[in-house]
């Protein structure tokens, strides 16, 4: 399974369509960093949809954002590639 193509892109496309948002989906797309494509509520919806998609495809119920995330100095939501690495790491540890 390819995390970017099978998990992240479909979820981004879904939200893009629902919200009539304008952003170009690519591995360098910034999700929540210097540029942000979401407001706080859309970000939460994006995260929940990612978790749903991961559960559907892998049967693994992972939590992408816990309170520990605020302690990290590098955000896993910086861009699509970094997010894919983060999800990969969580899936390996499951």
């Amino acid at each position: 399974m390819d995390i970017i193509n099978d998990i992240i892109y479909p979820v981004l496309e879904e939200i893009k369509e629902d919200d009539d948002a304008e952003f170009e989906i690519s591995p360098t797309l910034e999700i929540y960093g210097d540029q942000s494509i979401f407001d706080s509520i859309s970000l939460v919806r994006f995260i929940v949809n990612l978790q749903d998609r991961i559960l559907e495809l892998t049967d693994k119920d992972i939590i992408l954002v816990s309170s520990d995330i605020m302690k990290k100095s590098n955000s896993p939501f910086k861009n699509v590639t970094i997010l894919a690495e983060y999800i990969g790491g969580l899936l390996e540890n499951e």
Binding site: Y32, I41, V48, M70
Partner: protein, 447 residues
């Protein structure tokens, strides 16, 4: 008579900035001139004392001039902003407003007569006291709005002690007790109020740098997003002295991280309710959620683990709801607290209300909205804690269309977009069977 102290401060600070609104500065001299304009407008249009006047505007020098002039003319003011445009007619009807003054962005003024007659039992108290009033609307248990009537003189009393001159951002507007509190706090001390339309961390911090903001009031959600985005690393925030936070429960991990990044900034918890006013608070320390509440004009106590407050600035009552006071005059906040001597730790509401970034969501309102959607046989809504936004809305649906979760979510979003506020659209959705939904309901009823 009522606002002498504010005019006096303005006179002493004529050349200083009173506002920076959407990147445009204005001074105290302009505020005084706008006040005089408003006084003349009220005279010309023969707006009588004790009548109810709706004032529709965002913060501006002119709208503040009108606010002051209406206070001085002893009116009952119903502040309205664009954010509540869809509820405007309800608010006007509930408040029996007689006049509407709308101030546009380009400072044009529209004046209209309404059907209201300014008559309400609650207003009689103001008329007897010969005091001006203000009505704040807050959402009620099924989503209908409750109008809280305040005696404006009691709100003003707190600000007669001169405050320090600061430059402060506000996210709240006229129609919110917190917005009025910030306005009076600043204008009574000769400070400057700065508003921002774009509330993303980057835009807000850019304004902090540009206008050397000293006080930044934020929600825990904003802080989470600021930390997550790393936006704080890109700006010079050395002017910041105080970050205040409130409206939702602060996660301890967020507070710790914030204190680590900004060890020299004072972190202050605020506590206020539209029925009571904003209280002075003192946090035990920068990284502590324990807080001393009160100050002059406030008495607090805890009954059944719930905070009760008696306040000089408390509202007279609701226009359209029963009194929330105990027999001895304490307001039941419904906030659960822990107590340690003089300090309290606010744990959140004892109710089903879902608090998303400080916005309230009532499950019953969301449930009733989605019961109108095709194919929905039943729906149960509740809150689930979320480390980014405090809580999120979770909805469990029983449907009869045979759609997959993804198909249903898509249709649900399309159905709700534009009809209810975005934050009320469930962020997490589950499809369940008949038995499951009955068991959720049973648990809710037992609470």
């Amino acid at each position: 008579m009522f606002i002498d102290f504010l005019l006096e401060t303005a006179n002493k600070n004529k050349d200083n900035d009173a506002f920076v609104l959407n990147d445009k500065k204005s001074t105290y001299a302009e505020l005084l001139s706008d006040y005089n304009k408003a006084v003349k407008f009220i005279e010309d249009n023969q707006i009588l004392p004790n009548t109810t006047v709706a004032l529709e505007s965002d913060f501006s020098s002119l709208s503040t001039g009108f606010l002051f002039a209406l206070i001085e003319n002893q009116n009952i003011i119903v502040p309205l902003t664009r954010a509540v445009a869809n509820k405007k007619n309800d608010f006007l009807a509930i408040s029996k407003a007689q006049y509407l003054i709308s101030i546009k962005d380009d400072n044009t003024i529209e004046f209209s007569f309404l059907d209201g007659d300014s008559n309400h039992e609650i207003y009689n108290t103001l008329k007897e006291r010969k005091h001006p009033g203000i009505v704040f609307f807050s959402s009620g248990s099924t989503g209908e709005s409750k109008g809280a009537v305040h005696d404006f003189v009691y709100i003003l009393d707190k600000f007669k002690q001169p405050r320090k001159m600061k430059r402060m951002i506000t996210f709240l507007m006229f129609d919110h007790m917190g917005g009025i509190n910030t306005l009076l706090h600043n204008l009574s001390g000769g400070g400057c109020i700065i508003t921002v339309r774009d509330r993303t961390p980057k835009a807000v911090l850019n304004i902090v740098e540009k206008y050397k903001v000293q006080v930044l009031p934020v929600s825990p959600t904003f802080i989470n997003l600021m930390l997550l985005s790393g936006a704080y690393q890109q700006f010079d925030l050395s002017s910041l002295e105080t970050i205040s936070y409130g409206t939702e429960v602060m996660p301890e991990s967020t507070l710790e991280r914030l204190n680590e990044i900004f060890p020299n900034i004072r972190l202050v918890q605020t506590y206020g309710l539209s029925e009571l006013g904003v209280m002075d608070t003192k946090s035990k320390s920068n990284n502590s959620l324990w807080v001393k509440l009160g100050g002059a004009g406030f008495e607090t106590r805890v009954r059944n683990n719930m905070l009760e407050i008696k306040a000089h600035s408390a509202m007279i009552g609701y226009l359209n709801a029963p009194s929330p006071y105990t027999e001895d005059g304490y307001f039941m906040t419904m906030d659960m607290v822990e107590q340690d001597g003089e300090y309290y730790k606010i744990l959140g509401r004892k109710s089903e209300i879902i608090n998303i970034s400080g916005e309230k969501v009532y499950p019953a309102e969301v449930e009733s909205f989605f019961m109108g959607m095709d194919g929905v046989e039943d729906v149960a809504v509740k809150g689930e804690s979320n480390p980014l936004i405090g809580s999120m809305v979770v909805a469990k649906f029983k449907i009869n269309t045979g759609e997959s979760l993804a198909e249903f979510k898509k249709r649900m979003n399309a159905y709700a977009k534009g009809k209810i506020a975005d934050f009320k659209i469930p962020q997490k959705v589950r499809l369940v069977t008949d038995e499951e939904i009955h068991s959720i309901r049973l648990k809710k009823d037992r609470k």
